[in-house]
């Protein structure tokens, strides 16, 4: 039997992006012992890629903003499928959480009055996104990282957790390995907070890093939690499409927030055509009005009487619009559309979008102050995730909590830009509190089961024992083809069925993956285990997508192009049932009347 080292904490946080760090800070501030595990080095989490900003109704720029409007925007953006209570908590607590960041040292861009500056973003009625140029995520991570390291949190870097251990139905710890040398590690813990992010690596064209293999989704699923709304995968409308080496890398929505215009190869500003009836009135009627909005914005006027440009429609719309334009033959040379900010003053562009400027200049030889960018949809985010209690972030497994992208419910069927960073800090904090409360109520420490550890070790050892197995990279390629072909932006019954059949075949092949070399920093071996998580989350996406016979938010069915009101009050839930994935439809929580009224009094929006 292989050796393993042992660490003991009251609370173990898995994942050190915005949500995990925020959760760890909250819990350790309450005096419990906290361990924080991350697959990469500290401060490298995918949160650093978030560019545009943090949505919070501070009303620094537009005094008409408040949590109620933010709540309403979030629910409408999510096509009312959101867990209303999460959306409410999020809108109410985001301003406080942003101020907290500032007090911990985050340096946001300022208004002329010396307050936190806010910018326009898709789906947000008012200018709401607090930002630092286009590197807001980095600012958030660095602030939390520096706060965290001075608070006595024990950080275990480059460590992958492969199993949640339980004592009866309760969480008792976690098992995993250090990537550096492959040594095994047991964490004893009374509560675990999952903050592992998303599932993007299941797709070929993605903005997500290697870490995004659905670890939290799969760990929770294996531990008995349920995953909801996994059919809702957000394709960010603007990823780079050229050159091939950079395909999928994100082009921040802030480009459109700052006035970026989308055109097809014929030069048409096509977004006007794709505004859904329900929200058309919230956007500029024509190019002239859009231009006036922009002039007001550029002149630094805080409020404007003009409506925002159609490029600021929600991400699901813009992604579908671009996809359709390209498919119908109006795409650019490299299969995208043009995103143009070059008509603006070059110095302003460089100041407002410095990373974009450098990203295109260095990686694509394109000067965005001179020429338009070529962009197309890229897999970016999953709305679905582990079902949690809105107030405590606890899953249905006692002692298991989840926050951030790996949790589900907050964003419904489509997430608004800027609502992710705020989600991380609001629910990271909630999860930290929830877990501390849980540990206080818990009597004796739960026991570790040796047999669960043995299982975990065997699972990790076996790829080395296979003599002529399969290179896990080959299976990842197959997975990309399946997800891209059958479970992409537009979906159809027979495609989804084929996709699921092929995933089943892939699951069989997965039993043959092999690792070469030693356990010392061996990405091939790491992938053998990560692949299992990718397969679980991919299957959850495909099965959930097949079950939702309507189009809603980010889920677009060619065979059911309309939104079906009767399906708007149920979540899709998948959970583990022996060796199979069980799918159920569960009713949405009922929204209280006072919140419902907010939708009735929706005034026409200007921003």
């Amino acid at each position: 039997m292989a050796n393993y080292e042992i660490h003991e904490h009251d609370i173990l946080v898995i994942g050190a992006g915005g949500a995990g760090l925020r959760a760890a800070i909250e819990a350790s501030a309450k005096g419990v012992s906290v361990g924080l595990v991350c697959k990469s080095l500290l401060g490298k989490a995918h949160t650093v890629m978030a560019e545009g900003g943090i949505a919070a109704a501070l009303a620094n720029v537009d005094s008409r903003d408040n949590w109620e409007v933010h709540f309403r925007d979030t629910m409408i953006g999510g096509k009312m499928l959101n867990n209303w209570r999460m959306a409410q908590i999020h809108a109410q607590e985001a301003p406080e959480c942003v101020r907290e960041l500032e007090q911990w040292g985050a340096v946001f861009d300022r208004t002329k009055e010396g307050k936190i500056l806010q910018r326009a973003f898709g789906g947000h009625t008012y200018k709401r996104l607090c930002h630092v140029g286009d590197r807001t995520g980095l600012e958030l991570i660095r602030t939390l990282q520096d706060k965290g390291v001075h608070q006595g949190i024990d950080v275990y870097m480059e460590c992958t957790v492969t199993k949640i251990l339980k004592d009866g139905d309760k969480v008792s710890g976690a098992f995993g390995y250090f990537r550096e040398d492959g040594r095994y590690v047991l964490f004893k813990a009374k509560a675990i907070i999952l903050a592992t992010g998303g599932v993007g690596r299941s797709y070929l064209v993605t903005s997500n890093s290697w870490e995004y293999t659905g670890d939290g989704h799969a760990l929770a699923y294996d531990a008995g939690a349920d995953l909801i709304d996994m059919e809702f995968v957000q394709f960010h409308p603007t990823g780079m499409v050229w050159p091939p080496g950079v395909r999928g890398i994100l082009v921040t929505e802030a480009v459109r927030g700052e006035g970026g215009i989308l055109r097809n190869s014929k030069g048409e500003r096509f977004m006007f055509k794709y505004l859904p009836e329900a929200t058309r009135a919230d956007y500029a009627a024509d190019e002239t009005e859009a231009k006036k909005w922009l002039e007001d914005t550029l002149s630094g006027r805080l409020k404007t009487e003009y409506k925002r440009p159609p490029e600021l429609s929600t991400r699901d719309n813009v992604a579908r619009a671009i996809y359709t334009e390209v498919k119908e033959g109006r795409g650019t040379e490299h299969g995208g559309v043009y995103l143009d900010i070059s008509y603006q003053n070059a110095e302003r562009v460089k100041k407002k979008l410095p990373s974009m400027y450098h990203q295109f200049k260095e990686l694509a030889d394109v000067d965005i102050t001179q020429t338009p960018m070529e962009v197309g949809p890229t897999m970016h985010y999953i709305m679905g995730g582990i079902r949690v209690n809105a107030d405590t972030a606890e899953t249905r497994v006692p002692g298991l909590f989840a926050a951030g992208e790996c949790s589900g419910g907050m964003h419904g069927s489509n997430r608004l830009g800027g609502n992710s960073l705020s989600d991380l800090i609001v629910f990271g904090r909630r999860a930290g509190r929830g877990a501390v409360d849980y540990t206080h109520k818990l009597g004796s420490a739960p026991q570790i089961s040796e047999s669960q550890i043995t299982e975990a070790i065997e699972e990790l050892e076996i790829p080395f024992k296979r003599q002529d197995g399969i290179n896990p990279n080959d299976l990842v390629k197959e997975l990309h083809t399946i997800m891209g072909t059958y479970v992409g932006i537009f979906r159809e019954e027979k495609d989804l069925q084929t996709g699921i059949e092929k995933l089943e075949e892939l699951k069989k092949k997965f039993k043959l993956v092999k690792a070469n070399g030693t356990k010392v920093f061996n990405p091939g071996w790491h992938l053998c285990r990560d692949l299992k998580n990718m397969l679980i989350s991919s299957e959850a996406i495909a099965r959930s997508a097949l079950s939702r016979k309507e189009s809603r938010g980010a889920h677009s069915r060619l065979d059911y192009p309309k939104t079906d009101d009767s399906l708007g009050n149920e979540n899709t839930s998948v959970s583990k049932d022996g060796e199979t994935m069980k799918l159920e439809k569960t009713p949405l929580n009922k929204m209280p009347d006072d919140l419902k009224e907010l939708f009735a009094k929706k005034e026409p929006a200007h921003a």
């Binding site: 890629m49 550096e180 994100l250 896990p472 990279n473 070399g517 990405p523």
Partner: protein
């Protein structure tokens, strides 16, 4: 399709490790990190490399490419003539783990010792864009540690015991120049930070992928603050030559 020849360091110590040669097909816009990924996928899945963002935003993929410290995700293959070999090796300044991965834990230990942001209790959180331009420049740092790698005090003299290195001088400067910060880090900068070791060679600034003016904007102003309170040999010399710089 054009083929490139990469020589990648493989091994867990410098004695027994060696450069292994790989042929990699080159696509348009490909970067060195893509080539390493190609090797992982098609030839040796166990090649060790760090990366996350592939967009020069996380600072994970630092290595030395043809002897120059660089982010692999930002180093384009077409910057090398098609007949040159591209040599990729780990950062020299830090202990080797395997292949292109080094142990950078020391940096995290240094960071812990820097006095954190300390605002006044009654701060009203009003400050202006012009007050923070500098601080924002420093906060662009992606912790790639390329500056640490290239700095001769750490690289050639291995004074990790006495000098925190350019990255953490940048960090300290970001805190010291925050308009609402009240802590004083000047004494510890001299004693524990070892700022006197820096003789302003500017090598750090040259490699910084975020174009932070590490020496001019962070180190020299900090040195001036130290001189105002204490003594710094290099600054005294500079002052003798150029007279006192305006603050």
């Amino acid at each position: 399709m054009r083929e490139a020849t990469l020589k990648v360091f493989r091994g867990t110590d410098y004695e027994t490790g060696e450069f292994k040669t790989y042929k990699v097909p080159v696509e348009d816009g490909m970067v060195v990190l893509d080539a390493i990924h190609y090797i992982q996928k098609e030839i040796d899945p166990d090649v060790a490399v760090r990366w996350n963002c592939k967009a020069a935003k996380c600072g994970s993929c630092s290595a030395e490419v043809n002897g120059k410290p660089a982010l692999m995700c930002k180093t384009r293959m077409d910057h090398f003539a098609s007949d040159t070999e591209i040599q990729v090796q780990p950062l020299k300044t830090f202990p080797l783990v395997k292949d292109l991965v080094t142990n950078v834990a020391w940096n995290y230990e240094v960071n812990k010792k820097i006095t954190p942001f300390t605002p006044a209790k009654d701060a009203d959180w009003t400050f202006f864009q012009e007050d923070i331009e500098r601080v924002q420049e420093f906060r662009k740092c992606i912790e790639c540690f390329l500056c640490q790698d290239v700095c001769h005090v750490l690289r050639d003299h291995n004074r990790k015991d006495a000098f925190i290195g350019p990255r953490f001088l940048v960090r300290t400067a970001g805190l010291e120049m925050h308009p609402l910060d009240k802590a004083n880090r000047i004494e510890s900068l001299k004693d524990h930070g070892g700022i006197g070791f820096c003789n302003i060679t500017k090598c750090c600034t040259e490699v910084c992928p975020e174009d932070i003016h590490i020496t001019d904007n962070a180190i020299i102003p900090l040195k001036e603050r130290v001189v105002d309170e204490f003594y710094d040999p290099v600054m005294m010399l500079l002052k003798k030559i150029f007279g006192k710089k305006q603050k």
